[in-house]
Point group: C2
């Protein structure tokens, strides 16, 4: 008796065939002398019917027992349209109990009966849920396609160390004490950044790696302490070369997994324009509702609030939503007001509604007739349109309007499903000022090349230096970031200087990397694609734990194995460390 | 000017084509007004000729400069048969210096000019050596083939955690202190063993992962602190199922990389027989020279030395080597004598030679005429044959003879090259007695199933319990080990008990894993294939550092980045640890 089919593979085409299945009991029903068992394996679920002569053999069988069943496929009396195999059933002729099971502590058919923590504790049972198995298989497929596409494009996958030197990126490193060199530590890599650049210097030309990365951050709900990156780096190219590879990769992955044809080239918008139009560098392009700058309309306004804002170099920005006026009562608008005040420190939210041909709203009265008409014309307002206006500093106004755009799109349900809008955001600023550290810091990382025309401004006007960094955004999520790197040692040293990193400190931390630049470094650049985010988009889930086989909680704790955990003092002794502080338990 | 070809791709077929190359200067020669430059990229090396009009443009060019050159391919006056592109050259018409290079601290053409430590320090330059680049590309190819074959066979790659719970395997764990749970630690996985078994319990049925593993051991020359394993696990199969998958995988990899056709099925030899015939569980089957048991011939001997050995349950084993008698003088034989005495505690090494039709040797005189004739007949001795004999305890005699077999095969140069002999060693003992720990320990790991017929002997006769563990050996190297696992909770608990692991201690360390067995565990088994070893065999190198992009020294130190290294006290403070012992520097 050898397994002939997966449970989910049987269909009308197998009728009258003798088959042997192996699987877990998903459900068992006694109907008088008949017993019906839904048998589940990785491929799906199938109904097996045990008649009077067979029923006795499955009397003790309960949910999650493993059975091996041989029998004949037959059409069902009444098809079950909810099951993929609902047209047929297997009439059991032989059955063997492969293994028994106690009552499972969680429900496997769905995830509604208990807390997520409890399901994480019994992750090996939760993973029996068909939806999670499908996502793990989807993730595997994404990686297979990525590797085959990159291999075909001449990229070579190279494994870089996990036991590494601390990297000069933003987040905290996980440290690993050395037993042989007591007092010294490895760091788990936040990304293979330095190694992949060294591989370019080594002449590998086209590198990739589906690489594990580690960041000891306070987790948000979409982060895990370890995550995976489709890491790519190439020599002798520019933005066009890198983008073409990523676009091919995305086309192959979307076509190969969910059957969606993506466009040949993705839209590109420079960072500054992106902020102006969407108030964010991660705009969701599945809908319009762009921010409109009304400042020009109010150059000569007598409305004191707008006047003051403009006099202080502020902006007046607006969003228009069709058919939304009747959806936002005074109370609803108050909630939006709170949202921008508390979330973005905006001073106020103004609104206008066009209802039954007439305009009303919080700024109806303060504005002149001409100004009202100008707004209606400028924003092309029609009946039942809602317009939200914020007058504030550019930073506050744009970020608040950007967030309102997202919030109303969701509330108004105007986001089309199964649509995938990619966007390259380019020309990021090179530096941002850190109030905390009282210095300019690199927005991307300090190996990113400044735009050639801005090199002269590195010290005189760092705020306005643009970099060759780019992000790929999909449906409002950042899918990857990357950049063209510096390949000139002098320029690299200047950039370190600009962010206040002394050469002494830079040399101490990654002197080997600076040295490497001296011996013939090719121009190069690349990207790191967030694999979990990509799979989340493809699977249509917002929970990162759905796409990770063995995830942790938001506080980096593995409920299943209870890791991290205590270790013997003897283990610490040979590492030459001791515990000075214990988490209260 | 866009790159049209790789340097190594040009041949006679490209003559008269206009090409553009980008690469590193491997060599530069001035011949009067002509300059010849060997340009190197990932694909190979090509000669570029700069005539009178162009020579001035490359006057400053030195080794490892990066050039972009356009020109026309032409036949060379005299071909260089040592170069793949030796028939042609490119006559330069345009050249651009892409980047400059200082004089490299190591030679890139070969590895003869400096110590390995120095080459490791400048690994990014050493990796420019074509032979190392070829091996990295070979490693990539092995992984691509492995993934595509396993995917086609229905296996799903699942990533398991690197930040994990300490595993119950033999070696020391690398530990990672937790910042959020001060006083607690993760362990880096020695293998994904527990996770892959949990994936079987989760119903994934066929899993694989090309997985990073970590062991904090005192390194031997063929180990690295982190290494990679092609990790495979499957449900509902037995040894035949597992072996068939691995054999298919090996056939595809050997065919796809070095073009070698392997046999459909590999030889299988049970452990005990393997030890009897080869004195080792990792025999090299590329040559014969098996150990012959002569004990039966000497049942009634009057030679006191043999008599004593047999009376004490010892054995008399022999090896025969053809055409070797004249290669081992008295002095050479004395060296072998020292080898078995010091390496294996053998009491003595006896020998016989057949030269010009007459027998001589250290045991010629003590043996009777009949015994001598029996040996000649039993071993089929011919002229110029050398026979080595050890009479000792079975353990000493067999291991010493096994080592002699390997040593003489090398010294006599009888090992055929480019031959790949695979061997499954099966039926390993379940337990071995640890003198150090004064208890029986698992030979493989404690999740390995005992053979069904031996379960009754778990406590009464642990020494003679065989397990369902197996190794795959190639040309004398262990390529993988694996086993059919226990899938029954009661049996698992018994095995823990047999190795003196209390249920309390087992529960504390991996209680979650024991719990998992209760809820419907399928029969399952798998393997972990050493990727580095596999690539070493395919590349024909004995140095593990040749197959790792960024290797460490034998003392786990990365010469390039100088990792591990010191960290700030502040970093340790937030982890709640402090250093108690520092390595003297």
């Amino acid at each position: 008796m050898k397994r002939t089919h997966g449970c989910g593979e049987l269909s009308r085409g197998n009728v009258n065939e003798k088959v042997t299945l192996i699987g877990w009991v998903a459900k068992r029903r006694n109907l008088g002398s008949l017993v019906f068992i839904d048998l589940r394996d990785r491929s799906g679920i199938c109904q097996v019917t045990f008649d009077e002569t067979m029923a006795a053999k499955v009397q003790e069988v309960r949910s999650e027992f493993i059975l091996q069943v041989s029998g004949t496929v037959q059409m069902r009396g009444a098809a079950n349209p909810k099951m993929k195999t609902g047209e047929i059933e297997v009439l059991a002729e032989d059955v063997m109990i492969v293994n028994r099971a106690e009552t499972a502590p969680i429900t496997i058919a769905d995830d509604t009966d208990t807390s997520e923590d409890n399901r994480l504790k019994y992750r090996y049972l939760d993973l029996r849920r068909p939806v999670l198995q499908q996502i793990l298989m989807l993730r595997h497929k994404v990686c297979m396609i990525a590797r085959n596409t990159l291999d075909a494009e001449g990229f070579v996958e190279v494994e870089t160390p996990i036991l590494a030197r601390s990297t000069p990126e933003g987040a905290r490193d996980y440290l690993v004490p050395s037993r042989i060199y007591n007092g010294k530590f490895w760091a788990l890599p936040q990304s293979p950044q330095i190694y992949k650049q060294l591989l370019m210097i080594a002449g590998m030309e086209k590198y990739f790696q589906i690489a594990r990365c580690f960041r000891d951050e306070d987790l948000r709900s979409d982060r895990q302490p370890e995550f995976t990156q489709i890491d790519i780096e190439m020599s002798f190219g520019d933005e066009d070369t890198v983008f073409a590879v990523v676009e091919k990769l995305m086309r192959d992955i979307f076509k190969g997994t969910i059957g969606v044809d993506l466009e040949e080239h993705f839209v590109r918008i420079p960072y500054a324009e992106c902020i102006r139009r969407y108030g964010t560098d991660k705009p969701d392009l599945r809908y319009g509702n762009e921010i409109q700058d009304l400042s020009g309309l109010f150059r000569d306004t007598e409305f004191q609030v707008f006047r003051n804002v403009l006099d202080n170099n502020g902006v007046i920005g607006a969003l228009r939503f069709e058919n939304a006026a009747d959806k936002y009562s005074r109370k609803g608008l108050d909630k939006l007001q709170d949202f921008v005040k508390h979330g973005f420190k905006a001073k106020a939210l103004a609104y206008l509604k066009m209802e039954n041909g007439s305009l009303s709203g919080s700024v109806f009265k303060p504005l002149s007739e001409a100004e009202r008409e100008a707004i209606v014309k400028e924003l092309d307002m029609h009946d039942n349109d809602l317009v939200l206006i914020i007058a504030d500093t550019p930073k506050i106004a744009l970020s608040a309007l950007g967030a309102l755009r997202v919030r109303l799109a969701k509330e108004l349900d105007i986001i089309p499903q199964d649509v995938y809008k990619f966007l390259w955001v380019t020309d990021f600023p090179m530096f941002e000022y850190s109030e905390e550290e009282e210095r300019w810091v690199a927005c991307h990382h300090p190996f990113t090349a400044p735009k050639a025309e801005d090199v002269g401004k590195l010290f005189s006007d760092p705020e306005h230096v643009s970099s060759r960094a780019y992000d790929l955004v999909i449906n409002g999520y950042e899918l990857l970031s990357g950049s063209i790197r510096i390949h000139d040692q002098d320029l690299q040293e200047k950039v370190f200087e600009a962010i206040g990193l002394t050469m002494e400190s830079a040399r101490q931390r990654f002197g080997f990397f600076l040295d490497a630049f001296r011996y013939g470094t090719p121009p190069h650049g690349g990207v790191g694609i967030g694999l979990e985010r990509l799979v989340m988009v493809l699977a249509g889930t917002d929970n990162i734990r759905d796409v990770v086989a063995f995830p942790t909680t938001n506080s980096s704790f593995d409920m299943m194995s209870e890791a991290p955990n205590v270790v013997d003092k003897a283990q610490l002794d040979i590492l030459g460390i001791e515990i000075t502080k214990k988490d209260s338990e």
